[in-house]
Amino acid sequence: MAACAARRDVVVTENPLVRLVILFGSLSLVSLGGGNTVLPAMHREAVDAQHWLTDRQFADLFALAQAAPGPSSLIVSLIGFAAAGIVGAAVATVAMLLPSGVLVYAACRGWEHLRESRWRPAIEHGLAPVTVGLVFASALTVTQAADHHVGAYLVTAIATVVLVMTRINPLVVMAIAAALGLLGVI
């Protein structure tokens, strides 16, 4: 009871669920150019303002969200979870996905209207090579961020060759690499 009252002094009227909706609902619409652009804003609110997480926990959970299956932006679920349990996780996730989802849906509808136009194939053919360059840029950024020593670079290099040259299911390659990690080779 006393702890509850003490916390109330810090966070005046706000219910964590309301804070989650305000935070992620607004970040959803400004997260241009990939999710990581809003990470500093999430950190400011979750760590500095609301003390839902420590600095270390935030960094660990970000690494977890990046490596776990699914979009890395699901770190919002973990922040919501830390703030208000399972309900907080659900509220945070929906708040993050709904506003941008509605906007993208509207954009897709507009894009479908262009189906008969000459603009559509021109945009698709024209953006494809730009995307190839961007894919390489992300691939190298990820590699440099993830691989901290020779063993890891070697695994990335060998896995790339195997994936390009053979028809082995990539899951097999992933599983072998994960096993190497578990054995401490990487």
């Binding site: 997260s31 241009l32 150019g33 990939g34 999710g35 926990q57 660990d60 959970l61 977890l64 990046q66 490596a67 776990a68 299956p69 699914g70 979009p71 890395s72 932006s73 699901l74 679920s77 973990l78 996780a89 996905l97 941008s100 989802g101 906007l103 993208v104 849906y105 897709c108 479908e112 194939p121 021109a122 698709e124 053919h125 024209g126 953006l127 090579p129 730009v130 995307t131 190839v132 360059g133 961007l134 894919v135 390489f136 691939a139 993830a146 695994v155 990335t156 060998i158 896995a159 790339t160 994936l163 990539p170 390659v173 992933m174 690499a177 994960a178 190497l180 990690g181 578990l182 080779v185």
Partner: protein, 201 residues
């Protein structure tokens, strides 16, 4: 029957779309993409599942959608799920695809998060993920090589790809202005070959 079907496969160089996938199939495809991407590499898995396996999108449509999804607000792959879901099944399709992509991964993440909060660290998981992350990086590089190979025969496309790579990776310029410049140049480059309205198959 046989002659008709063999003729269509001969004449259509691009992937001929079959009947639109059901909402269940959309959810299943994006769940597959999400679960396969432990360690990262979501775009590469999306390319493999959506283009190579299910043939729901051709390569150019997938690649351009990938960049358009990055330009719009929201997580890229969630946007891709909205795009693919909307394309085939409207609102229910978009909801099914997004649900497929996020519901199970969120549940997994919460279990891992709970373990993390309880034990303060996840050593075995950490080591396993380190390996998976190294392989996931390879997955993205391999995808780049695969989708980039056709550009070797196309100097204009090669220049665009190189310019995008240098601008974002070497110069570290932000994505939006880079695409704002290179996108229109790409469209200009592609314009002469774009089929006029009504002439497309």
């Amino acid at each position: 029957m046989t002659s008709v079907s063999s003729r269509t496969t001969l004449t259509s160089s691009t992937t001929e779309p079959g009947p639109p996938p059901s909402t269940g199939a959309l959810a299943a495809a994006f769940l597959t993409i999400a679960l396969a991407s432990f360690g990262g590499g979501l775009s590469a898995w999306a390319q493999r599942v959506l283009v190579e396996r299910r043939r729901w999108l051709d390569q150019d449509e997938f690649l351009s959608a990938l960049t358009l999804c990055r330009l719009l607000p929201g997580p890229n792959q969630v946007n891709m799920a909205v795009y693919v879901g909307t394309k085939f099944r409207g609102v229910p399709g978009a909801l099914a695809a997004v649900a497929g992509l996020v519901v199970v991964p969120t549940a997994i993440l919460l279990v891992l998060g709970e373990l993390y909060f309880r034990y303060r660290q996840l050593p075995a998981l950490d080591a396993t993920l380190r390996g998976a992350v190294a392989a996931a990086a390879a997955m993205t590089i391999a995808m780049g090589l695969k989708v980039g190979t056709p550009l070797l025969r196309d100097p204009g496309g090669m220049v665009l790809a190189l310019a995008a790579f240098v601008a974002v990776h070497v110069m570290r310029w932000p994505l939006v202005p880079v695409v704002a410049v290179l996108g229109p140049l790409g469209i200009l480059w592609a314009w002469p070959r774009a089929p006029r309205a009504g002439t497309s198959s």
